[in-house]
């Protein structure tokens, strides 16, 4: 860094303002969840745990949380499996329609959520699966596949083909190469993809809103209904909980990523020696 292009105070201040704008507002929900008043007033007047109590005792909130977790876990597992298979196919082969396939699988990121929601809702009504757990899981899975593919593709690119070739030379068939060489090395990427898929499904509100039924209401949908109808600080509790869950979930890959670098280093050393 030379003196000519170092960061000057105005730039630093501007950067700080932007950083605050990006992160601080969301933190409001945490103190809000402890307000003693039935209002969204901030700063809050008085502390109380009543909204937390309400969240964990009212079936519509707890039920929504359970539904969300169930849908997110299932969708994330499905998305990780099919997404990883797709990545391996695209990354380790030469098929003519490869780019088209990849483009198609990535589409859900660019298409506006409302269009997907309205389309899926209309189709599901015709197929008789609107309001069903499975229907929502499938819709969320498709939405999450791109978020699995991105980190897994990066992870796959990081595996030198020499390692796989070495395994082949040592007598491993494709399946064993996959399970005992690729999969362990891809693991951190898989975990990242799984977490992204999980968080995507957990947070998804538009599709879940249109597909809802009295028995299938996810937490974001419950929050959305609640905030449009009445002033209920329980939604601040829901927001805080989701914040915490998502943050913990995102931090997990960081820890797994560390073990990956170690493992790859060992393997490469062994392959080279």
């Amino acid at each position: 860094m030379n003196t000519v292009t170092r960061a000057r105070p105005p730039l630093i201040v501007w950067g700080a303002v932007v950083a605050v704008m990006l992160t601080a507002p969301t933190l409001v929900v945490i103190p809000l969840s402890f307000t003693s008043q039935r209002s969204f007033r901030f700063p809050i007047e008085g502390w109380s745990l009543q909204w937390y109590e309400r969240f964990f005792t009212e079936s519509r909130w707890v039920g929504a949380l359970m539904t969300s977790l169930g849908v997110a876990l299932t969708a994330a597992i499905l998305a990780t499996i099919v997404g990883t298979l797709a990545v391996i196919a695209l990354g380790r082969s030469r098929i003519a329609l490869g780019p088209v396939a990849r483009g198609t699988l990535m589409l859900p990121i660019v298409v506006p959520g409302i269009v997907v929601a309205v389309g899926v809702f209309g189709a599901y009504l015709r197929w008789g699966i609107s309001g069903s757990f499975l229907g929502l899981v499938l819709a969320h899975t498709v939405l999450s596949i791109p978020f699995v593919m991105i980190p897994v593709t990066t992870a796959l690119r990081g595996i030198p083909e020499t390692v796989e070739r070495a395994a082949a030379v040592l007598g491993a068939n494709p399946l064993r190469r996959f399970t005992q060489v690729q999969l362990p090395l891809l693991a951190p990427g898989l975990v990242t993809g799984f977490v992204f898929a999980f968080v995507t499904s957990l947070d998804e509100v538009v599709i879940a809103f249109f597909l809802q039924s009295p028995r299938l209401r996810t937490l974001p949908v419950q929050m959305y209904s609640s905030v449009t109808v009445e002033t209920d600080p329980t939604i601040a509790v829901a927001s805080s909980l989701v914040l915490v869950i998502s943050t913990i979930a995102i931090l997990v890959p960081r820890l797994v990523a560390n073990s990956r670098t170690k493992r790859l280093a060992t393997l490469t050393k062994e392959a080279a020696s």
Binding site: M66, G70, L73, R215
Partner: protein, 345 residues
Amino acid sequence: MRTTTRLGALAAAGALVLSGCAADNGAGGDLTLVFTSYGSAYQQAQNDAMTTPWAESVGATVINDEPTSYARIQQMVDAGQIEWDVVDTEPFFPVANCGTLVEELDFTNIDTSKFPEGTVSPCSIPILQYSTVMMYNTDTYDVAPTSYEDFFDLENFPGVRSVPNWGAGGALELALLADGVAPESLYPLDVDRAFAKLDTIRDSLVFWNTSSESQQAMEDGTVDLTFVWSGRAYEAENNGAAFEPMWENNLIAWATLSIIKGSPNLEAAQSFIEYAATAEPQARFAELQPYSPAHADAQPELSELQQKYNVADTAIQSQAIVTDVQFWADNSAEIEELWAAWSTS
């Protein structure tokens, strides 16, 4: 490898458990009924007065949902996936959709002579009378507004106005009456004239989508003039909201119960409607929410505040205009389209 398999197995197990929990929600008892109404204290009162006693007497499980949405009903029936059994709606809806979206009722056990003339339809029974009334914020205004014209008077009564966000909600009648249309000539509604009148206060106008929202707005003081259901006005004042009613030309109507066509719990729904059609539950409800019961024998005992909002009171009735059910039954579909277009641009 082992860590991944372990993680995977854990996740799968977890997902199975949670999906089981999520799917299996409230299954208990042979008779089930899904009752949909307008939520909050209103629906809670309906539960206390009607659905819970009924459920206890026949051994049924009641699932509540809210709010009533005509579009959802249509979607359900179109798709053949009926999720609601009994719904509380505005009176025109079962009249307009009798046999198509709602079931014809079995009146063998229902005494229709106890209901006011013209309130019963082949597909619905009335349960209470409600009014859509103009409310003003006493914190904002020292001088009370005295007519609908004041609702549109931005100079003397500046501030945020709120009306129901659907065509049949009453805003069109409000606008026409404020524009000088005589109550006798109100129907059929001159929709274009009504929209033109509403456009004059467009910049100060907000909408409420659910009645709970309208009540919340009064309690929070985020509106200055609003047009709400009388029971919500009572609840709001009961909760300390600084609002007073202006009863001139209030729009009066009967809330009705009907059964969604193709309901999987037809027996339970019919049984519940028969129960709700009797005097006692209706009186009980009126003691919790000051709507006036439909049943002639229902004699609720009301508190002073409830009496203030009791729409059966002659003082209120003499100023009321009855909403034309047949007009709305015939024209709501078309007017909703116009309203949707007007309200989103």
